[in-house]
């Protein structure tokens, strides 16, 4: 942590050393550089990056930008430390027998495994709250993510709750609990109180009248007497 008044006395020497050696991946500002050989400096940077990655992965909802940048940096460091070894996104068998290499490889494997499992989790979680529709099916039409598109499966995260129910069928209903239905205004139980704003009905000027009119409107929708607002067509 950079703190006030903390001077790094060896900076100038480090810079000279860095310039003398043709190693663009040396960072002269690093405190370890002065104390160790270049290979070890990279190693500490590697360790730091792995630490950051694990810390990021441990978060309940990792910052995707931070994660991606750390992973890419880690890959760069790995590439410089073991340029011969390939860097596949999936775990690969250790390339050489050396202790450093196996450390690298196992770290790589651990890294890849962690990344793979996390990103898989992310996409799995997203898959739960999303209609199972591969993107390729949409073609050049783009993806209206709600309303009444030609292929009803492409409802993504939006769309009226009733639409989701009908499309996934009963199995879809029980596969996971789609809380967007509970969050949706249409299903909000009276005890939760009425959240203003989300559903637009007629006459939205005065608050007391609004509640009644909106409740009536919602009841009509639920009962099926009244269709929901017709959304505009795509490419409006």
């Amino acid at each position: 942590m950079l703190s006030k008044g903390l001077k790094r006395k060896r900076e100038e020497e480090e810079e000279k050393a860095a310039l003398a050696v043709d190693a663009w991946w040396l960072d002269p500002g690093h405190p370890d550089v002065a104390q160790a050989a270049p290979a070890v400096a990279s190693s500490s940077l590697f360790d730091l990056s792995v630490l950051k990655l694990h810390h990021s992965l441990r978060q309940s909802e990792p910052d995707l930008r931070h994660l991606v940048l750390v992973v890419n940096t880690l890959r760069r460091i790995q590439a410089s430390m073991a340029p011969a070894a390939a860097l596949p996104p999936v775990p690969s068998p250790p390339a050489a027998a050396g202790a450093a290499d196996s450390l690298l490889a196992s770290s790589d494997a651990a890294l890849s495994a962690s990344m793979a499992s996390l990103l898989e989790d992310l996409s799995h979680i997203e898959g739960l709250s999303q209609a199972p529709q591969p993107l390729a099916d949409e073609g050049p039409l783009g993806r209206p993510t709600g309303g009444a598109p030609p292929s009803l499966g492409a409802l993504d995260l939006l769309g009226p709750a009733t639409g989701c129910l009908l499309d996934d069928g009963l199995e879809g209903l029980f596969e996971d609990i789609d809380t967007s239905m509970y969050d949706s205004e249409l299903w909000a139980p009276a005890s939760e109180g009425f959240k203003p704003g989300p559903v637009e009905g007629p006459g939205k000027e005065e608050a007391p009248e609004l509640d009644e009119a909106e409740l009536d409107y919602l009841m009509d929708v639920l009962v099926g007497k009244q269709a929901l607002e017709r959304p505009p067509g795509p490419g409006r």
């Binding site: 931070h66 990103l119 995260l157």
Partner: protein
Amino acid sequence: MIPGIGTLTQDTLWCFSQVKGTIEFGTTEADIISTVEFNHTGELLATGDKGGRVVIFQREQESKNQIHRRGEYNVYSTFQSHEPEFDYLKSLEIEEKINKIRWLPQQNAAYFLLSTNDKTVKLWKVSERDKRPEGYNLKDEEGRLRDPSTITTLRVPVLRPMDLMVEATPRRVFANAHTYHINSISVNSDYETYMSADDLRINLWNFEITNQSFNIVDIKPANMEELTEVITAAEFHPHHCNTFVYSSSKGTIRLCDMRASALCDRHTKFFEEPEDPSNRSFFSEIISSISDVKFSHSGRYIMTRDYLTVKVWDLNMENRPIETYQVHDYLRSKLCSLYENDCIFDKFECVWNGSDSVIMTGSYNNFFRMFDRNTKRDVTLEASRENSKPRAILKPRKVCVGGKRRKDEISVDSLDFSKKILHTAWHPSENIIAVAATNNLYIFQDKVN
């Protein structure tokens, strides 16, 4: 100097005008300002904070008696825009922090703004009430219902003046459209649509419709293990409602035309500067990650902010920026430490002045920098309580890089990296700037002669 024309000549002197916020140590996290935005006339200034609150300041009418004091900004409205939420499906807490506020152009007496946290965008209406109806037939003075059988005469209610009340009401809630964290919102020049961008997707909304949005950009790979790049910022062109840009964590900007296809995964233009081999390091990608992208008011240029520089690009030239300004190049040798303490991931914003002649961005130690594009002069100023006397002229600051430190200079190692200016705003037509320093909002104006 002609007011309204921003130039950073020798004659421009910036003065302290106001500061909002508490002085006490140990700031509550909730008070940390996370976004600042003037409205289109500059009459209103909105801030959002980590606690999900929005505070709107209004500029007071300039009084003839106080010509030396241009209109000050006073609190106009405060409301809780977002509350912390819990996503039961993923067992995650959704932060209430306001990531961005964007004003809609004013079309009637009320003001409208969009505010967003990580997941939900809300449209707020801020309106004034200075009259109250009196003389109801069915209600008495206290609002209690009267028994209709006791009413023998009818009267017409009249509107009587009352103390001004400013109400903020949520008019629309645009929810459940983003799996990842929303980083940008941008109102389209058609005033009917807006977009919201998260790490991997951009959605297009119509203001009237909350249960549906169009996905216009999707960079999520089929296999998440192949993810190497995320969207960092996005903005609509100020005049062409079909055009928008988005920036990435790899330092690239893509310009898209919605007329070309409904899904704009294929860009129309691709802006990227080739990497400078002499500056290559492990951190090259991180420091090239763009944290903000802004169109100029003219619509001819875009400005991008990465960790160490601000760049101006001409829309007609994709292979390199036309201007590059060093914000704090002395940090280039400190990248490893800044990586260690995560400062290298800080996301600084950048802003244009009204005439697109000066650009401004923040730095550490509560410093912020301005660059005059015409004269090529730049200045470093500081937002601090020490320089907070009314109309006190801000003294330019200088960071000493090496060698002998002159008096009034500050050495790189003495910089306080916990004091970062990430969010700033510039009045649309005057030389008034708002600078957010953690939990304090500073307002500076140029000196009135």
